[in-house]
Amino acid sequence: MPQKPLLRLLTCGAVDDGKSTLIGRLLHDAGLIAEDTLATLAGDSRRHGTTGADVDLALLTDGLEAERQQGITIDVAWRYFATPARHFILADCPGHPQHTRNMATGAARADLAILLVDARAGLLPQTYRHAAICALFGIRHLVVGINKLDLLDFDQAVFERIAAEARAMAAALAIPHLAAIPHLVVIPLSARHGDNVAHPSARIPWYAGPTLLHHLETITIDETATEKPFRFPIQWVNRRDETFRGLAGTVASGRIALGDPVTVATSGATAPLARILGPGGDQPEAQDGDAVTLVVAAPLDCARGDLLAPPTARPNVADQFAAHLLWTDDAPLLPGRQYRMRLGTTWTTASVTTIKHRLDPQTQAHEAATTLSANEIGLCTLAAATPLAFDAYATNRATGAFILVNRDTNRTAAAGMIAHPLRRATNIHPEAYPVDKQARGVALRQRPLVLWFTGLSASGKTTVAKLVEQHLYHAGCHTFALDGDNLRHGLNRDLGFTPRDRVENIRRAGEVAKLMVEAGLIVLASFISPYRAERRLVREMLAPGEFVEIFMDTPLDLCAARDPKGLYARARRGEIPNFTGINSPYEPPESPDLTLDGQSPPETLARQVLAHILPRITGEA
């Protein structure tokens, strides 16, 4: 009998529903645990076990010291096993809500999920959350195992009631732009004693369906990535020497044969395929999952990060799109903040522009939200720094998935599934004018710049900026001053001082400064701008060298002593929430262009600034 294809699956469900025990039982009853491992397990059970005199099979997968001490699963454990019928890669996922991101790690590549339910407890909030995450990641086969029925004397009525609830849950999982889970099987179990795991149970005469193992061995996964359009993210360009240029990567979907034309999605450039090199040498064709090196018959301008597709079935190309996010970072999502984004083999930066809604996994309700915290799911719109080639996740898991990375910590901040491109992104093209920034700079006889003063309230930013502007004016320069307080009276009057509003405040100020620079002006911007990420955002809006970060390094005590507006006194009395330096953080620049000692006289500081910038304005530096 030919083997069924490799099955990737996960076990999930709430804490204490018996996931690790089930896997231990599955491996044990299938005869797949080595004798010395079993002996070690017996020792571990005496030390950490929770099953009295019996061997605690959960300890087989709970491999971290902390897990064994606490008796819970923290991170996903991978298990590999094979029966004569099939090879399996199984992810044993944690149930604790705090570790949902680790559960999602197991779900991302799985074709099937076993969702365990403790028969005594029924469906719990975490059961719903895990079911929603499985649906979000596009898992189409769900097995609900109703476990611990031995503790209820294998009561059929309990099983039928929970099974009906599980079916209702799966039917209600209608995440917009994603298909519901179409295939559902419910199996009564006792993982601890092995009923219906690998062997049918005489204690459940009322159940006529398959055992869990039999179901896993025989199920057909109807994923047909081979039938989808050809997609090939270029991973690495192999330039052995001048005579060889190969495009190395893994076919994400579809198939390709020698002579077929391939198109670079973002540029439209096309060339026919001349060679396909696989692990065994030249081959006439390749299909999804194959790691190959493609050689094209004509020069083709492309590199790592480009996506190859057939000229007749191209992906979307856009820089704005709607997507579901599963937030995984401990730092909550801040709309407007820049994150590193990886889609296929492309890295770019992107920000969330709006949160359309947050999803309540239990009720499927769409809630209004201004942020997403760790383990929450939301539908968002995003804007990327560069145009991206992608498909909707529902039609192609390989080209519709992305991750976001926190730029400060390098932590993986979110898993994303693209719903659709935004129409405004595909129909708006920037207009180029012949009189540009350079032309205006020549007319004004200066190089435009942004002098960005950052520092605590009352640190002296505005005082020094005013002096610098006066000197520049007398030197014949064309300037404009932007001030946080002034902008908040007009353009930004809808914004407060929450972290989210602070990000938007600086984004708008940056856009205004950028327009001024386009107009050829020297901009003096004074903003507390407490976050590094947003100062970097403004820096990246501008051309290299146009952004001069000036750090007003004034001790908090001195600022508070000056307190010209009485704000520190009020903040310390608790009358002002989110006041920088008191109850809201300030992140000093790591490598500012200029650091000013706020304890020196303002005129001295203004001259330091002038000495630094005058050569740049006149073009001598």
């Binding site: 083997q3 997968t61 709970d62 998935a401």
Partner: protein, 300 residues
């Protein structure tokens, strides 16, 4: 012998991980332990970058207690492949005369294994170390990501690993941090031998059964590779047909009795084996959660 479909899939995935490492890091290196997993890794690297040569160096941490046959095999393979081979031994440990026999396995492995590896990574400014570890070997390894970052001091924090979604690996590193990369994460011992047999990959002859001089120590069969291991009064090594299931320093690695002398015979032996692969590794039994402790401190 054609590859079974699941192994063709694992081969493609491992090749993709190797290419990803090359494309994403400044100075990757392949941790070459001379064992069977390293041999498979080397074979996959040849395929991943063909027709170009393997574009990064091989790094071997020599503890001073490697089997002589392993060192000979290492030099032969590196020469055949035209590979750039880096060999590092902890000079401080060498000067102190650290030995598994007089200092015990734990101090020996910490000094000549873990510490030496960290020195070599720093010395050669390697920012991504590719290793042949598999998740089916041991419980704490079963928990590790494919791209697994290390702190500036090469430590692993298993309690707060980055989630790893699809094959969209997060290869970002902060200053001084390094990455460990495990292309064989999803392979099993059986997969490795099936692949070796199908592809005809050369491995150290110690994996194959032969008559060898054996001492019985703490229930393990130790093949005495040289006379640094003292004999008990009146003790003489007995000659037994043995082979190794896993490679390590010879005083710390137990052999088992076997007549399996080809990859096909090894596969037949594994099909009925009732003990796990690392059973013969004395260093894993130092203490509860020994592997996790070693990994946290930087061991591969």
């Amino acid at each position: 012998m054609p590859l079974p479909p699941h192994l063709r899939r694992l081969e493609a995935e491992a090749i993709a991980i190797l290419r990803e490492t090359l494309a994403s890091f400044r100075a990757p290196a392949l941790l070459y332990s001379i064992g069977k997993d390293s041999s498979v890794l080397l074979h996959l690297a040849q395929k991943a970058f063909a027709p170009a040569a393997i574009p990064f160096p091989l790094l071997h941490i020599a503890t001073g207690w490697d089997f002589a046959e392993m060192l000979a095999f290492r030099d032969r393979r590196a020469a055949e492949l035209g590979a750039h081979l880096l060999v590092h031994t902890n000079p401080d440990g060498l000067a102190r005369g650290i030995s598994p026999i007089t200092h015990g396995s734990r101090l020996h492995m910490d000094t000549m294994g873990t510490e030496a590896l960290k020195q070599a990574l720093d010395l050669h400014a390697i920012d991504a170390a590719i290793g042949g570890a598999r998740r089916d070997e041991e419980k704490s390894r079963a928990k590790e990501r494919i791209f697994s970052p290390r702190t500036q001091g090469h430590a692993w924090d298993p309690r707060s690993q980055r989630p790893e979604f699809w094959t969209l690996f997060n290869t970002s590193l902060g200053p001084g941090e390094t990455m460990r990369v495990f292309p064989l994460s999803d392979w099993t011992e059986l997969d490795i031998w099936t692949y070796i047999a199908a592809e005809g990959i050369p491995v150290v002859p110690l994996y194959f059964a032969a008559p060898r001089p054996v001492l019985r120590r703490a229930g393990a069969l130790i093949v005495r590779d040289d006379d640094r291991m003292p004999l008990a009064p009146g003790e003489t090594p007995e000659t037994l047909w043995v082979r190794f299931r896993t490679m390590g320093d010879w005083p710390l690695t137990g052999a088992h009795e076997s007549r399996a002398a080809t990859p096909a015979q090894i596969l037949a032996e594994l099909a009925i084996a009732r003990t796990s692969e690392r059973h013969g590794r004395l260093i894993d039994h130092d203490q509860d959660a020994a592997m996790e402790r070693k990994k946290r401190e930087g061991y591969f």
